[in-house]
């Protein structure tokens, strides 16, 4: 089975920067919606892209959603145990993780 092409690094980076702007302390429901969309999609997408797995679109969607949920869960649980529960902090950590994955992806591309 042929793999599905994932969005490029620039797209992931662009989305990360956009969301980084969205994390500014502005009080608007749209920003929260944006944050949720980011949490549900971007970490998993960045990780899935790094693996370069030959997946069908259907498999890729599932993998992205599950991987995002897994990474968010790990960070949110860390916040619960390490006593730093705050959506801003957790979101910041998820954002940092996603950015690290995107940078790793760039590094992989360059090495090739």
């Amino acid at each position: 089975m042929n793999g599905t092409r994932l969005p490029g690094v620039s797209m992931v980076l662009g989305a990360s920067v956009t969301v980084a702007i969205a994390t500014l302390p502005l009080d608007h429901p749209a920003l929260d919606t944006f944050r949720i969309a980011f949490l549900l999609l971007m970490p998993g997408l960045a990780l899935a892209r790094l693996t370069r797995l030959p997946l069908s679109p259907l498999e890729l969607v599932s993998l992205t959603l599950v991987a995002s949920a897994a990474l968010n869960t790990l960070i949110a649980t860390l916040a619960v145990y390490a006593d730093f529960w705050s959506t801003d902090t957790i979101f910041g950590l998820v954002l940092a993780t996603t950015t690290a994955l995107v940078l790793a992806d760039r590094s992989c591309c360059n090495m090739r």
């Binding site: 089975m1 429901p29 929260d32 919606t33 944050r35 949720i36 949490l39 990780l47 899935a48 790094l50 693996t51 370069r52 797995l53 997946l55 069908s56 259907l58 498999e59 890729l60 969607v61 599932s62 993998l63 959603l65 599950v66 991987a67 949920a69 897994a70 990474l71 968010n72 869960t73 790990l74 949110a76 649980t77 916040a79 619960v80 145990y81 006593d83 529960w85 705050s86 959506t87 957790i90 979101f91 790793a104 590094s107 992989c108 090495m111 090739r112």
Partner: protein, 611 residues
């Protein structure tokens, strides 16, 4: 310059477009019939056999039309995977969206408790592993932490919506996961899609509600799928006839595949695959106590049979699970160790703990139990025949067979509060579905397409009917009512900390707000002699229970779902629960603090006067 004529549209493309258009029309018709049926469904008229008793013919017509269309599509050459995926999506909507359309409240009383843990995290920002009430959730808080994060971002009011729609979301995510798992077991796409269809019809055990187990189930399957697809030895491909003896596979793994793999480079994507699988294993470990055990067993089995090229997946699963048990969850494990030591090894007792005695059940519930067992038996039989057929064709299907067996090994260790057998079936069901699909694939090859479509439609409709009975058969007492939730909400908001809440049974929406403020006592779970005293003289006995200075305030909450559950499971004779309520209403010792059409809350009259 000659004018070039536009390129002719390929016949295949035209066929494909026509096929998709036809499918869209048929699926819309099925959806319309389903929706029309639900408009005319009166859930309050539900009998003892649950939702099955009130679903109108239009609903069944929708399911029949969808099933027939799927069977036509899956027997067509070439296969249109988009077409088949649309069918599966609609199957999920038709089967799993019923509660969202029909009920006014979150289905299943035990789902409400999970809202309580999220509420706890939102109030405290942490968990308390040593808490007295529902400690397991505080020791495996992964799922709740994630949901708390989403709810805090989206607003508290979205929690209920999230909980109500979560089964549908889980099943939609599962489509891609199942597709990945099945394609590692066979190259035949027809079998893959039939396996997916059967997997949904075989999974009747209802572990897909808003819960940690539903959250980690896709992770479990995904780790298996990724392992079988990308972490297998070079020799283990789908197209292998797999005729070699197990020992030969083992030797091949030991001597060949494992040693010839090149060392990974830093930029190697396989390293990130390792990272992803580790993240999935870690998420499972912190979210649910049973799934990591099943995962460890499955990965160990796959490694032992040479289906994995490296030992790290099973090793990582065991190390992470063990580390969690002796680390963050050690207090909980210490408190459970006595009970666990008694259960270890008693596989039959562990398996039979939650089997209902049919003679005690109400007639409707006895029928539903028979339907559930028949459906399970049918799936097992189809799978067995499928396995034998594959074997006769020279295919061993070691991985799939192993993944059917390993979940049941959990029963050696624990009964899991009587649910171990059902959870094991849940983990095994996709692989049972695979073998059943293999059988159908063989049958389809031996008969004409028209006959195959008729046969499969009939079989799938029977399975769907069995699924509806098994899955929604207890809804007369497990659907919950908005009025009950309002009653507990009243209690949660008005009762002071350290209150005693006496309930008919835990079968009602409860513990979803401030759950840690109260001590709960369930009347029906009392020892028999104590229960007899309550039934004999409710006002006097319960008056003594409530007149207790250890608590700041005391309450009795009795609801419609409690009554329905107690009577359906044969715990009390019909009418007893109503007599209990009447006795409290007539007694001067009690006063009604809250009442609506579904619930009533009593307090002591003396306490009411003091307030």
């Amino acid at each position: 310059m000659a004018i070039q004529s536009p390129p002719a549209i390929n016949d295949k493309t035209l066929d494909c477009r026509r096929g998709l258009l036809t499918t869209a029309v048929v699926l819309l018709a099925a959806l319309a019939s389903w929706r029309h049926g639900l408009i005319h469904t009166d859930v309050d008229a539900m009998s003892d056999i649950g939702l099955l008793s009130v679903l109108p013919p239009a609903f069944y017509a929708g399911v029949l039309l969808l099933t027939f269309s799927f069977c036509l599509s899956v027997t067509r050459h070439p296969l249109s995977e988009t077409n088949l995926a649309l069918h599966v999506v609609l199957l999920i909507v038709l089967l799993y969206a019923l509660p969202m359309v029909l009920y006014d409240s979150l289905r299943l009383p035990w789902a409400w408790k999970h809202l309580g843990i999220i509420d706890y995290i939102l109030r405290h920002g942490d968990v308390d592993p040593d808490i007295a009430a529902m400690p397991a959730y505080h020791n495996w808080p992964g799922f709740f932490a994630l949901m708390a994060l989403l709810v805090e971002l989206a607003g508290r009011e979205t929690l209920m919506t999230l909980a109500i729609w979560s089964p549908l979301a889980v099943h939609l995510v599962l489509i891609g996961v199942l597709a990945l798992v099945f394609r590692t077991l066979t190259d035949d796409r027809q079998t893959v899609w039939m396996s997916i269809w059967i997997a949904y019809l075989a999974n009747w055990v209802g572990q897909d509600y808003f819960s940690p187990q539903a959250f980690v189930f896709p992770l479990y399957l995904l780790v298996i799928g990724l392992s079988l697809a990308f972490l297998k030895p070079a020799s283990a491909t789908n197209s292998d006839p797999q005729r070699q003896h197990l020992l030969a596979a083992w030797q091949q793994f030991r001597d060949g595949a494992a040693r010839t793999e090149p060392a990974p480079r830093l930029a190697d994507p396989s390293l990130w695959l390792v990272a992803m699988v580790l993240a999935f294993l870690a998420t499972m470990t912190i979210s649910h106590p049973l799934t990591p055990a099943a995962m460890s067993l499955a990965l160990c089995g796959l490694y032992a049979l040479g289906r994995l090229k490296s030992i790290w997946p099973p090793l990582a699963a065991i190390v992470l699970f063990g580390a969690w048990l002796i680390g963050p969850a050690r207090g909980f494990m210490a408190s459970e160790s006595v009970q666990m030591s008694q259960l270890i090894g008693d596989i039959l007792a562990n398996a039979a703990t939650n089997f209902e005695d049919l003679t005690r059940l109400s007639p409707g519930q006895a029928q539903i139990a028979v339907v559930s067992r028949t459906l399970t038996g049918a799936v097992l039989l189809l799978a067995l025949l499928g396995g034998i057929t594959r074997l006769l064709k020279g295919r061993l299907d070691v991985s799939a067979a192993l993944l059917v067996v390993t979940p049941f090994l959990i029963l050696i260790i624990h009964s899991y509060d009587g649910e171990g057998l059902f959870r094991a079936y849940l983990f095994a069901s996709p692989f049972l579905a695979f073998f059943a699909a293999c059988l159908l694939h063989q049958i389809m090859g031996a008969i004409s397409r028209a006959l195959a479509v008729v046969f499969m439609t009939a079989l799938f409709c029977c399975l769907s009917l069995g699924w509806l009975g098994a899955y929604y058969g207890k809804d007369a007492h497990t659907r919950t009512h908005a009025g009950e939730a309002l009653a507990f909400d009243f209690l949660a908001k008005t009762a002071p900390r350290n209150s005693l809440v006496v309930e008919g049974s835990p079968n009602y929406p409860s513990r979803f707000r401030n759950y840690d403020h109260f001590t709960y006592v369930s009347i029906i779970d009392e020892p028999e002699d104590s229960l007899d005293l309550v039934i004999g003289d409710p006002a006097s006995e319960l008056g003594e229970w409530l007149d207790n200075e250890r608590y700041t305030a005391t309450y009795i909450i009795l609801t419609e779902s409690q009554k329905a559950g107690i009577e359906a499971l044969g715990r009390l004779s019909p009418g007893t629960f109503d007599r209990l309520i009447a006795a409290l209403q007539q007694s001067r010792r009690f006063q009604v603090a809250f009442e609506n059409e579904s619930a009533v809350i009593f307090i002591l009259a003396s306490e009411a006067a003091a307030q």
